[in-house]
Symmetry: C2
């Protein structure tokens, strides 16, 4: 185990419990989906083809730490014995009186509980039939992904992926658009002004600002455009260069 | 086409553009992922193995309307010619100065644009290499899924799934937990009161409220519990029945 792996397992995230999974490939795909979103803890309840499973390892490719540290349990009671709160994922109504939450709402709750030091588990059922009523009855609440009621065919790994995505999405403190903006080398005010001056000068020569009573408004619009476009320093250099070249070409034609 | 299909295609949703997809299976899986979240519009740019593709149809299973109506285009320019705003999904930084958004933020924008009658497209690249810089340069903004930077292995259909999930998640007006609560047949105040009375009566007989100076507080806690548990009418009937049976058993022992 590398220090990176240790870090992953120390970070609080819900425990994903795969209940009686059938195909090793799906266990591997679930491990990958978990690791994609830095959720490392996984438990297996009575996998059909035994454990370890070489097909799971093959499909997991780089996600080996998730598989290597996955706990193996005989039943749901054992796999959730140390958990304070348990969610069951199921698409179908069960006739069981139990809160039914979206992944979004459930992961909000889970984040709050994890922050308070509690252990949270999410049960996902086997490929074909999903969780049995007996499994669902052991959970505190149900997670239902808001799929198209006329077409729901989420597979095991997709369900795991969406829950892990929701958990991680809610934890992003600085969205990437803000970070990208912070890292951009925008042109300064004086650079934008000089660019505007340069364009105005050349456009004046080219008799662009016509008719005279509209000229002031055209100039204002142009100034506004240079600001609105959020130009970088490199953009400004490119635009200066374009303008110089166009002027040179014009002069050559005049000669 | 059924009326249900028509409804799907009339509802505003972003157009998903699969750019040079390689495996038919992935095109089919993408169609399913889209239909899971009621996003029907899909376009294909130069699929490697031609079109239609029987492997796509086999994998799509019930999602045939998405495939049947998928538009086929020679290049990205053609596939986005009628679109007002285009997002490119890519995991890697591109050195292109362009807004980089989470799926969450991008789908917020897309919802606002669709509501204003605009057409929005999302480009997803081929399996191995993803979109080329030339494709990304045609887009207005970039979507990057906030994956674990040390482990990102989202496949084509998973990427399509997450974008469709985000779009649909944001459109849910009444979360299922609220709906489930609204549909629950909770016990009324008088039923809870009668249940409390029944328990107090039997517990009084059993000399549960002891010592005397704590009795009032114990009664209050019990009343509070019956309300806090949000019992249904069926729960209340069960609890009455349990209590009657326990009393009967007690009397039999006394005889």
């Amino acid at each position: 185990m590398t220090p990176l792996d240790d870090q992953l397992f120390e970070a609080a995230s819900p425990v994903m419990v795969l209940v009686r999974p059938q195909m090793g490939e799906n266990i591997g795909a679930a491990a990958r989906a978990r690791l994609n979103f830095s959720c490392a803890r996984m438990r297996l309840v009575a996998p059909r083809d035994g454990w370890p499973n070489p097909k799971a390892a093959a499909m997991a490719s780089g996600a080996y730490p998730v598989l290597d540290r996955a706990g193996l349990f005989e039943d749901v009671a054992g796999a959730t014995a140390d958990c304070d709160y348990v969610y069951a994922t199921t698409a179908r109504g069960r006739g069981l009186t139990k809160p039914v939450l979206t992944p979004e709402r459930a992961m909000q709750e889970a984040r709050a509980m994890l922050a308070a030091g509690k252990r949270v588990a999410v049960l996902v059922g086997p490929e074909r039939a999903g969780l049995e009523n007996e499994d669902v009855a052991r959970a505190n609440a149900i997670i239902t992904v808001p799929v198209n009621p006329a077409f729901y065919s989420l597979n095991l790994a997709q369900c795991v992926l969406l829950v892990a995505y929701e958990f991680t999405r809610q934890g992003i403190e600085t969205p990437p658009d803000i970070m990208a903006m912070a890292g951009t080398d925008f042109a300064t005010g004086i650079e934008r002004t000089k660019l505007g001056d340069h364009f105005e000068e050349r456009l004046e020569e080219a008799q662009f600002f016509y008719p005279a009573d509209k000229a002031e408004h055209m100039r204002l619009n142009l100034r506004n455009m240079w600001s609105r476009l959020a130009l970088t320093r490199a953009d400004v250099q490119t635009l200066h260069g374009m303008l110089r070249q166009l002027a040179r070409a014009g002069r050559r034609r005049d000669e």
